[in-house]
């Protein structure tokens, strides 16, 4: 073989290899392909609070008694047709009649009770329990064929909202262990799971509600945002619920939406010089949020004044974001220094890799802004495991002053899901302990109606103006890419679920 022959062979092979004879599998007909960033480890509806599980099973395979309207945080009926608070500790839920599980079992009070008991069983590390019911004593019982009573030891005025997290599964579901083929009442039956490749759902012919347009759903998993965006662009997928801002380049396909995440730098108020409020105020005044918006952060982000987004009950709309005022920030730093506060002490900025797009650039920009105001800072970027050691208790005793890059997601309708952990004296991620905040959290947690809202709003005001436990940044936006053949608009709940029944074909 001479050089000429070899070159010819290589060229021919290359042409064959990349020739247009190959046609990739495209999503078509009434079938839908969704490309997610991560494959779930398990698809048990009890783990539906994990976004990669929730986007597959929540309200598709397994439904909740109620659901939270993403627009305003109000509670809507789903498997429960009504609910009433009988006394401070007891709620009754009326269960929808004529509903079947995918395995043929009837939905009734007994099956709902069994499902709740399964989720709350301490032998099973169900995330719904560990996230929402960890400190709570709950007893569910059937008081009629289609009425469930839920009793708690402490008043739970937001029990309906809590039930919006509780996915209901068939009474035949195995106890104390996650399942790989969940049986719910939703509009889609769990089909197949090929580990590492795909999960499929198919339309449930016996569904109690309206018949959805999509017949079959195929979920595939690609870690790289650029690949997910490319898959929708080429027609291999119909929806990529989350893509990075730099990949959202097609105005016809890409949607931005408030994703219920709120970004901040958590200030460790127990360490000097961060225990001085002038220092904390100066930090907020030193951050030029307008300069970050549309550059390092997406254009649609909104400067935040509190850790919850406007659609959540308890959000205080009267608060104003910290203005950028470097001169005032420098004055406060100088004043603190004159009073003996060691403002030159090194403060570590703890960042988490991948926490949001441009995570490191955001830290570097804020480092520069805070340095300009007169602080001495150093950035440490970490993987989740190391970062958690700084964010959550138990904190190391010998730690120095830190600002921890953090982001919090609450689309569950009420501020209670955020406030205790973040700002109560014993909160898992709190470094503050203020008697007024503490009393406010306690009072709001058991209050109802306007009183509840007002109490939360006062807590938010106190934190924002008088305590300043965070360097406040933005309510964040997410980006989805949607194939034009699909009619689907992402919302705040797209961060945690993706109801296929809402997808229509154009």
């Amino acid at each position: 073989m001479n050089v000429k022959n070899l070159s010819l062979a290589i060229s021919t092979a290359s042409i064959i290899a990349v020739s247009g004879f190959f046609s990739p599998a495209f999503s078509a007909g009434k079938n839908l392909t969704v490309v997610l960033s991560e494959e779930p480890d398990i698809v048990d509806p009890c783990e539906a609070t994990r976004s990669n599980v929730g986007r597959i099973v929540k309200q598709n395979v397994s439904e909740t008694l109620v659901e939270i309207d993403p627009k305003d945080g109000s509670i809507k009926a789903r498997l429960a047709t009504g609910w009433t608070q009988k006394d401070k500790l007891t709620w009754h839920f009326d269960i929808r009649k004529g509903v079947k599980f995918h395995d043929g079992e009837d939905l009734n009070a007994k099956s709902v009770v069994k499902s709740i008991q399964r989720a709350l069983n301490p032998k099973y590390d169900c995330e719904i329990r560990t996230k929402f019911f960890g400190n709570m004593s709950v007893t569910a019982s059937a008081i009629g064929s289609h009425t469930v009573s839920i009793k708690t030891k402490k008043p739970q005025p937001i029990m309906p909202a809590l039930m919006g997290t509780m996915t209901i599964v068939s009474p035949n579901t195995q106890e104390a262990k996650g399942v790989r083929n969940p049986q719910g009442t939703g509009p889609y039956v769990f089909g197949t799971w090929t580990p590492g490749q795909s999960v499929t759902l198919k339309r449930f012919s016996g569904y109690w509600g309206d018949k959805p347009e999509v017949e079959n759903v195929n979920y595939v998993f690609r870690k790289e945002s650029a690949v997910r965006a490319a898959m929708v662009k080429t027609g291999e997928a119909d929806i990529a619920p989350n893509i990075a801002v730099q990949d959202a380049t097609d105005s016809k396909m890409d949607f931005s939406y408030f994703n219920s995440e709120t970004a901040r730098l958590r200030i460790d108020m127990t360490r000097k010089p961060l225990d001085d409020i002038r220092v904390r105020k100066a930090m907020n005044l030193a951050i030029d949020l307008d300069a970050l918006k549309g550059t390092i952060f997406a254009d649609g982000v909104v400067p935040q004044t509190q850790i919850i987004v406007p659609s959540i009950n308890g959000h205080n709309p009267r608060l104003k974001p910290w203005p950028y005022n470097l001169k005032e920030a420098k004055r406060l730093v100088a004043e603190a220094k004159a009073d003996g506060v060691d403002v030159g002490k090194e403060i570590i900025m703890i960042g988490r890799l991948g926490i949001y797009p441009n995570h490191t650039e955001a830290m570097e920009a804020m480092h520069a802004m805070l340095t300009e105001a007169g602080f001495n800072l150093k950035i440490k970027m970490m993987e989740t495991a190391g970062w958690l050691n700084f964010l959550s208790r138990p904190y190391a005793e010998d730690r120095g002053p830190t600002l921890v890059q953090a982001q919090h997601d609450n689309n569950n309708g009420d501020a209670v899901f955020s406030m205790f952990n973040k700002y109560a004296c014993k909160g898992a991620q709190s470094t503050t302990c203020d008697s007024k905040v503490e009393a406010g959290i306690e009072a709001a947690t058991v209050a109802i109606g306007d009183k509840r809202r007002d109490t939360w709003q006062e807590v938010q005001r106190r934190l924002h103006q008088d305590i300043v436990p965070d360097v406040q940044m933005f309510h964040m936006v997410g980006f989805s890419r949607v194939n034009p053949r699909i009619n689907f608009t992402p919302s705040i709940s797209t961060n945690s679920e993706l109801q296929v029944s809402q997808v229509k074909f154009n």
């Binding site: 073989m1 050089v3 070899l6 290899a17 990349v18 020739s19 247009g20 190959f22 046609s23 990739p24 599998a25 494959e39 480890d41 398990i42 609070t49 301490p122 032998k123 590390d125 995330e127 329990r129 560990t130 996230k131 960890g134 400190n135 262990k177 996650g178 790989r180 580990p195 590492g196 490749q197 595939v220 998993f221 690609r222 870690k223 790289e224 650029a226 690949v227 490319a230 898959m231 662009k233 080429t234 291999e236 993987e383 989740t384 495991a385 958690l388 050691n389 964010l391 959550s392 208790r393 138990p394 899901f417 952990n421 014993k426 898992a428 991620q429």
Partner: protein, 305 residues
């Protein structure tokens, strides 16, 4: 040869045991898996309860003895995350990586032998110069960038190939193409170098003087001797891919062992970390033994030693 192989296998077994003990203790130095498994907002009581239930609070020697006893019974433990036997999870991922490694190394080896030999036939000729530049570029190309660029060109712009996923031949082209670039580049360099040495040796000159055909001189006399260093490098490259073609697996959505290992380390899923490292170590040590055998087959001097 038999004695040599027995010795080699025994030393490999010792290495695996040592590695396994090391992995067990190093993994536990990273911290409590509960911190990563439970939601960030989980109360402290729940965290304590979780650690106690799964034995993460037990003294390390108790955890180790439990692990050794389970292992003696062939039980690697259950994946904390996937809630099923860790060995099942690993054995699902292994064939994906092995098939990627086998196909890409086969193509890289054949390509490198052809290109390297032809380049060595006329050192500093046009073909040699072109192949040198191309192979050096290939050996230093960053996988991630090449993969994303390839998707944008061949999938998004030209629509010739699927962006990613597992399927028929079209789905293999980009992952294999990306994966073989570096080994191919390296191997072309090695084949070229060793073939230049082999083709200028006395026995090749003798063969030419006896009128042996040029094709036979290159591919039989030259190549057989020139292949020894190639096998070493090819073995290293194969082992590196078998250890996890992480970037290709991640970008193209091939659920291989590299991606699994990285994910399980980041999630502190100890049982999967241990099982995947053990299985990978066995594969790599097997590759090394195969290389030793190949050496002996190609070089009678090693056989006779």
């Amino acid at each position: 040869m038999k004695q040599y192989l027995t010795k080699r296998i025994l030393s490999s077994l010792l290495a695996i045991i040592g590695l396994f003990i090391m992995v067990f203790f190093l993994a536990r130095l990273t911290g409590d898996p509960g911190h990563l498994y439970l939601p960030i907002d989980a109360p402290l009581e729940v965290r304590k309860e979780f650690s106690e239930k799964h034995g993460f609070n037990d003294p390390i020697y108790i955890q180790f003895s439990r692990f050794v006893i389970d292992l003696a019974n062939g039980d690697f433990g259950d994946s904390l995350r996937k809630q099923r036997p860790a060995i099942d999870v690993v054995l699902e991922a292994l064939p994906v990586t092995l098939s990627l490694a086998a196909v890409s190394m086969f193509i890289a080896l054949i390509g490198a032998i052809l290109i390297g030999s032809l380049a060595a036939y006329r050192p500093n000729g046009v073909f040699d110069r072109i192949s040198r530049v191309v192979s050096l570029t290939a050996a230093s190309a960053p996988d991630f960038w090449v993969a994303i660029t390839a998707i944008l060109i061949f999938s998004v712009s030209l629509r010739w190939l699927p962006t990613s996923g597992i399927g028929g031949l079209p789905y293999w082209i980009m992952p294999i193409g990306i994966l073989l670039i570096r080994p191919l580049g390296l191997l072309v360099q090695v084949v070229r170098g060793s073939m230049i040495t082999a083709l200028s040796s006395d026995y090749v000159k003798t063969a030419r003087a006896k009128g042996v055909r040029e094709k036979v001189v290159i591919f039989k006399h030259g190549l057989r001797n020139g292949l020894l260093p190639v096998i070493t490098v090819a073995g290293d490259q194969a082992a590196a891919i078998a250890n996890g073609a992480v970037i290709v697996e991640t970008i193209f959505g091939w659920p291989g062992i590299g991606k699994l290992m990285i994910d399980s380390i980041l999630q502190r899923d100890f049982a999967v970390v241990q099982a995947s490292i053990l299985i990978t170590a066995i594969v790599i040590l097997s590759i090394n033994i195969i290389i030793d055998i190949a050496y002996a087959v190609l070089d009678p001097r090693i056989r006779h030693k």
